[in-house]
């Protein structure tokens, strides 16, 4: 899967209420949720971004509510990857479970500037900053999580397990 696009930068503690405000949670349709992605943080985000762009944030991205609508909205909006110094744990689980690529890298989060052209190899965790000609290495995923990612998310993984038990 190719991950390549422009970086949009945000700060610390971006919570799931600003990623997708609760007033839009009366639906679970990803296309509908995508319209309001990051609305209370950066009102024009979905109109100014292009398919494939990346979100680059600081620490504790996705804190707060467990709403899976948050990674769903980001994914459906066309964001190809979220890079952060750290992720809140429920968001981290949810992103892996639904197949939204995420990477932890303090160096990338600090050095990437808004507008930089970024290319990511999700398997190796290599983050290539094409604008600055720099390469950053993300934290590797534990083996089990790599299995989940390779399987295409938790539901595929569980479906295979259920099938093999039958």
């Amino acid at each position: 899967m190719e991950i390549k696009g422009q970086a949009w930068k945000y700060g610390d503690d971006i919570d799931t209420d600003v990623i997708i405000p609760a007033r839009y949670l009366n639906t679970s349709d990803p296309a509908e949720l995508a319209k309001y992605c990051l609305k209370d943080l950066d009102e024009d985000f979905v109109t100014k971004m292009n398919e494939g762009d990346l979100i680059v944030a600081a620490k504790n991205f996705g804190c707060g509510s467990s709403r899976e609508h948050a990674p769903l909205a980001i994914k459906a909006a066309g964001v190809s990857c979220v890079i952060a110094k750290s992720f809140a744990r429920i968001f981290y689980r949810n992103a892996i479970n639904i197949g939204l690529p995420i990477l932890e890298s303090v160096e990338a989060a600090e050095k990437i500037e808004e507008g930089d052209e970024i290319e990511v190899d999700i398997d190796s965790g290599e983050i290539n900053n094409l604008s600055k000609d720099e390469v950053y290495q993300a934290e590797p995923f534990p083996e089990f999580m790599q299995e989940l990612i390779t399987a295409g998310g938790l539901i595929n993984y569980v479906s295979r397990k259920v099938d093999s038990n039958e």
Partner: protein, 420 residues
């Protein structure tokens, strides 16, 4: 090396005798929980797995509490979708409006969550049940779906941080203030991925209601769970409710902690968390002049009977400030009945407060008290993020019920001592 309470509970739900922090495990689940916002996504994912039945009709619990009684057509459609699923699956523990309460007030009250359990809930405040000595943590809808299918979930066994609370509590200081103070100290990611363990003489003397409040907000420090070792207070609470066996665990004396943090509570006054993070705490004496338009008393954090009693104590014989809305949301129908029996509703209504049926409502900006642009609320809820209770340009200040009630009377944030 000994084990922490978190490690012991998790180990007991695997085939292993012992687990260690950092290990990835698959654990058996005692309860899988969802609400009306998270369950629709979970049902769609569950259906993709290809199973016709959930793993256990008694262990899957669904509580439509967020946008109910339904606030609009879309949320009514979502509620209908999960109601039909609950009917088709013959779920024993689906709670319809009228029997429903705020999930984290309701499950302990109904004896559905017990000491020693492993619980996942598609709601971040599932960590509330740590107050009973259960390993309980919030997950997303897909984890809920997998849990409904298999009765299992994967976990990374968390490192633990031990918090020791010593000393004498000051007047009007409650479990809410202890947890706000703690979050103010360690920050909103101070316990990221970790188990928080609340200990010390102060915790031993806290009521169950106040313990629930503390464990409830572990997630606001990034915690995976907020555990309190069960004791006689816990046993007294669960004994009259439990319909199955339960197990009491406590950490070994030589258990390993990533960090041990001690607080002298005699230095802690009632806390107020300023916008827009729960870590922005100040003691009530440092708040200054903050006028408010609305006060909210309720939620999974502070919607229990003891919270209502404290609010009533402050409000009795007083009047809510002109043009201020005080909204009180009891956590469950049982709590409502108890409050009625004790005459608390009469006190609230005489003071000029609106009393609601149980709902998460305004806490997450759903309904029942949304803020307009530029408005400010004090709330006993758990989050004060941008736009949390309404317009992105509104503000939420978090406090305990006594401070919220006193502030409703004065129209600005004040200590209960200013009205009593």
């Amino acid at each position: 090396m000994g084990m922490t309470i978190a490690e012991k509970i998790l180990a007991a739900h695997t085939e292993k005798d012992e687990v260690k922090a950092g290990e990835l495990i698959n654990a058996q689940l005692d309860i899988v929980l969802g609400n009306d916002v998270t369950t629709p996504v979970a049902i769609k994912e569950f259906n993709k797995i290809g199973l016709t039945e959930v793993f256990d009709k008694e262990k899957v619990v669904i509580v439509p509490d967020h946008f109910t009684p339904n606030k609009d057509i879309n949320s009514a459609n979502q509620a209908k979708f999960i109601r039909e699923f609950a009917e088709a699956q013959e779920l024993v523990n689906y709670f319809e409006i009228g029997k429903m309460g705020i999930e984290h007030c309701l499950l302990p009250e109904q004896g559905l969550v017990l000491p020693g359990d492993v619980i996942i809930g598609a709601d971040s405040h599932t960590c509330t049940y740590g107050a009973l000595g259960a390993f309980a943590t919030g997950v997303g809808s897909t984890d809920m779906a997998a849990g409904m299918a298999t009765g299992e979930a994967w976990f990374k066994v968390p490192e633990s941080i031990k918090f020791i609370y010593q000393g004498e509590l000051n007047p009007w200081v409650s479990g809410k203030d202890l947890i706000l103070y703690t979050i103010g100290d360690i920050g909103v990611d101070g316990a990221l991925y970790k188990a928080m363990e609340f200990t010390g003489e102060v915790i031993e003397n806290l009521s169950m209601d106040q313990r629930f409040t503390m464990s409830n907000m572990a997630i606001e420090a990034g915690g995976k769970c907020g555990l309190i070792a069960p004791d006689q207070t816990t046993i007294d609470y669960v004994e009259e409710r439990a319909e199955r066996d339960y197990t009491l665990y406590e950490s070994d004396a030589d258990a390993e902690y990533e960090e041990v943090i001690e607080y002298d509570v005699s230095e802690i006054e009632p806390q107020v968390a300023f916008p827009h993070l729960p870590e922005n705490t100040k003691g009530i004496s440092e708040v200054g002049e903050v006028e408010i338009d609305q006060a909210v008393i309720g939620s999974c954090t502070n919607g229990r009977i003891e919270d209502l009693r404290i609010a009533a104590e402050v409000l009795e014989g007083k009047q809510v400030a002109d043009n201020l809305r005080l909204i009180i949301l009891p956590g469950t129908q049982e709590i409502s009945k108890q409050a009625m029996r004790e005459g608390l509703f009469e006190i609230f209504i005489d003071a000029g407060a609106a009393v609601s049926t149980p709902t998460c409502g305004p806490c997450l900006g759903g309904h029942m008290g949304i803020l307009a642009k530029g408005e400010r609320a004090i709330a006993t809820t758990n989050r004060n993020f941008v736009g949390r209770m309404g317009d992105p340009e509104s503000e939420v200040y978090l406090s305990n019920p006594a401070v919220a009630a006193a502030s409703a009377i004065k129209g600005k944030i004040v200590s209960p001592e200013e009205v009593i």
